[in-house]
């Protein structure tokens, strides 16, 4: 071990990467592209995993990776600006440094779901950690059955990745369904919570794997809907969110019942969560 790794708990030390691009997705959400600053490729990630992103001197946050896992030279994150650290993150200028630790956590069960229909249900920024799974299924299109994406946002202005969503809808055996809570005058699509989209699709429960990410309340209703339609608890996967300071199981903040969301999650099969999810203030 080098002197540095002996005296530093190196897993807590970020690697400086260079911010290559900042794209505005909506009024408060931005997609950041990070590239290596030293020529070394970033570590490979699996769809559903997250990194800890560090703004020099400001703070560090757990952020899901929203990019394509096959693009090995960059890491892409989609961040909603809601507080001091996320604001600092999305207002960096291209060329500046962002610290990265990770990737951490469990991933969507894509390898175990070959040959099955993939039903993706996302709410708001919850689409970001699911996008790598969509990229994966589209890239290996023949390995999977149907791909259904059910996506709900607050308003048409809050929809992420709109161009991609439109394009994906033209891929064979792929169906993208979108709904918003408030449509406004010019919106001609669906209005209502994401669960209202289930009436537009035909699920084959025995061959369905559902991947769900969004606000916890939305996930509860989505799970209920999936269970009613016959999808088993083992085939429903949720990505959970808790306060996180270390991402390696030492800080204790991300506990959810017996689990550490950082290392046992963030992706859990619903069968492991069902005893805990309806407990208020768990």
């Amino acid at each position: 071990m080098s002197a540095a790794s002996e005296t530093l708990p190196s897993v807590m030390v970020p690697v400086a990467m260079r911010l290559a691009r900042v794209e505005k997705e909506t009024h408060d959400t931005f997609t950041l592209t990070l590239e290596s600053a030293d020529g070394e490729r970033p570590a490979r990630f699996a769809p559903g995993q997250f990194s800890m992103l560090y703004v020099f001197g400001v703070g560090e946050l757990p952020i899901s990776i929203s990019g394509n896992p096959e693009e090995r030279d960059r890491l892409i994150y989609t961040v909603r600006s809601v507080g001091k650290a996320t604001h600092a993150l999305v207002t960096r200028a291209p060329g500046e440094a962002i610290g990265v630790r990770g990737p951490f956590g469990t991933s969507w069960p894509l390898a175990d779901s070959r040959g099955r229909d993939i039903v993706i249900v996302a709410g708001g920024i919850g689409l970001a950690p699911l996008r790598p799974a969509i990229y994966h299924v589209l890239r290996h299109r023949g390995d999977y059955g149907r791909l259904l994406v059910l996506y709900g946002a607050r308003s048409p202005q809050d929809l992420l990745f709109r161009k991609q969503l439109t394009a994906w809808n033209y891929v064979p055996d792929t169906q993208i369904l979108i709904t918003v809570d408030y449509g406004g005058l010019s919106w001609r699509g669906n209005v209502g919570v994401v669960t209202t989209l289930f009436r537009h699709i035909r699920l084959e429960p025995e061959r369905t794997t559902a991947l769900v990410c969004g606000p916890e309340i939305m996930m509860r209703y989505v799970v209920r809907e999936l269970l009613v339609r016959g999808v088993s608890a083992e085939d429903i996967y949720l990505s959970m969110e808790r306060n996180m300071k270390c991402a390696v199981g030492f800080c204790g903040h991300c506990q959810l019942g017996p689990y550490f969301v950082c290392k046992d999650g963030p992706v859990f099969p619903y069968s492991r969560l069902k005893a805990w999810m309806d407990r208020y203030e768990l």
Binding site: C251, K263, L282
Partner: protein, 389 residues
């Protein structure tokens, strides 16, 4: 720890039953001096601010000769004993945790460099600790923290370095405090392992002696330097009997049987509201607990913005910020925070690390400003489960 386990095993194979040696208080002073000579920072009990604290010491004269500390729910009183006992009390607020998993430590310092940033090399020298007067509960607590920091997917390198360098002189407990319940947790009053040397103090009219046993080769080597004679059979028996008396005299107990399932089931029990009416959410219990490991991570910068540091500090699940995510805290009510602490300690810990996170040291009872007693709360929840179905 692997090293320690192997040494212990080797000794066991040699077939030599643990030899018990006789130490006088003066020989204990020599033992301490020998540790200082070996370059250890010796952490031992001493009187500070009207209480017994584990602090760095430079000689046996700094130990609290003739003191005891009366512990009760919400109270801790330093008192004079009528004798010259050096270990006539049990635990102070501090434990090994304060030194192996310190309250705050810098994780890194960095400075801006060419549009990026660069991590600065650490200069600080890490102390090598020798702990003198460690109680069996605290050894059990250190073993629990080992599981958390060293035996999971990620390891805490700083903890490992401090732990592996540590030398431990344990003291078996012959006079438990009113708040002790280690016997019911299976962690005391006799230390089973995890020490280099273990002592039993015998204080009787006319004699003040220690029976010493080595737990590792390093411990045996150090004891050999003291030219101590073998402890007579009669004295060893007296020490044994004192430990048996200590175990049977403990009034508090925590019944862990089926507790994990019970706590998970009683998530909505009205008794949590009862505790919440008393709990101040002050976090004292988590600070003094020798197993509580939660920390926060703070990032700071200097005024120029050129230099930044990351610090790790103890944190507590009793604060509202602890569970904050965008939109609010997951555990807003004091009830949910107390429930999280107790349920983590006695139930979730078992799922996470294979044992409960409580060793029966009783610190959370004494240092709770309103005297909330973990053994009583568990008993009340059991009673509720029995009567409220």
């Amino acid at each position: 720890m692997r090293k320690r386990a192997r040494e212990t095993a080797d000794q066991g194979q040699a077939g030599a039953a643990r030899r018990s040696l006789l130490l006088s208080p003066a020989a204990l002073g020599e033992l301490l001096a020998a540790l200082l000579r070996r370059g250890y920072t010796v952490i031992a009990p001493t009187v500070r601010d009207g209480a017994i604290c584990y602090e760095p010491v430079n000689g046996v004269e700094e130990l609290p000769a003739g003191y005891t500390m009366e512990l009760e729910a919400g109270s801790c009183r330093l008192k004079r004993r009528g004798d010259e006992a050096l270990f006539g009390y049990v635990v102070g607020a501090k434990s090994l945790k304060n030194y192996l998993h310190p309250p705050e430590r810098r994780v890194f310092a960095a400075e801006r460099d060419n549009g990026l940033f660069r991590i600065l090399p650490e200069q600080t020298e890490r102390p090598r600790f020798a702990f003198l007067g460690v109680r069996p509960c605290d050894l059990a607590a250190a073993a629990i923290q080992d599981r958390v920091f060293l035996k999971d997917r990620y390891q805490d390198g700083e903890y490992r370095a401090r732990r592996e360098a540590a030398f431990v002189v344990a003291v078996h407990c012959t006079e438990p405090a009113a708040t002790c319940f280690c016997a019911s947790m299976g962690t005391g009053p006799r230390a089973k392992d995890g020490f280099d040397i273990a002592l039993t103090e015998i204080v009787e009219p006319g004699r003040h002696l220690f029976v010493a046993e080595a737990g590792t080769a390093a411990g045996a080597e150090l004891l050999a330097e003291l030219n101590a004679s073998e402890a007579p059979e009669e004295l060893c028996r007296a020490a044994e009997e004192a430990l048996e008396r200590a175990a049977s005299s403990m009034k508090r107990r925590l019944d862990g049987d089926g507790l994990r399932e019970l706590l998970y089931e009683r998530f909505e029990d009205p008794h949590w509201d009862d505790v919440a009416r008393r709990c101040l959410c002050c976090a004292n219990c988590t600070m003094v607990c020798p197993t509580c490991f939660c920390v926060t991570v703070e990032d700071t910068s200097d005024v120029t913005g050129r230099r930044a540091e990351r610090w790790q500090r103890w944190d507590s699940c009793f604060t509202q910020n602890f569970s904050y995510i965008h939109g609010g805290s997951v555990r807003l009510s004091p009830k949910s925070r107390y429930r999280q602490w107790l349920t983590h300690k006695l139930a979730a810990w078992v799922d996470q690390f294979g044992t409960p996170g409580c060793v029966g040291c009783g610190r959370c009872i004494s240092w709770c400003p309103v005297g909330i007693d973990i053994t009583q709360e568990v008993a009340a929840l059991r009673e509720a489960a029995r009567t409220r179905a």
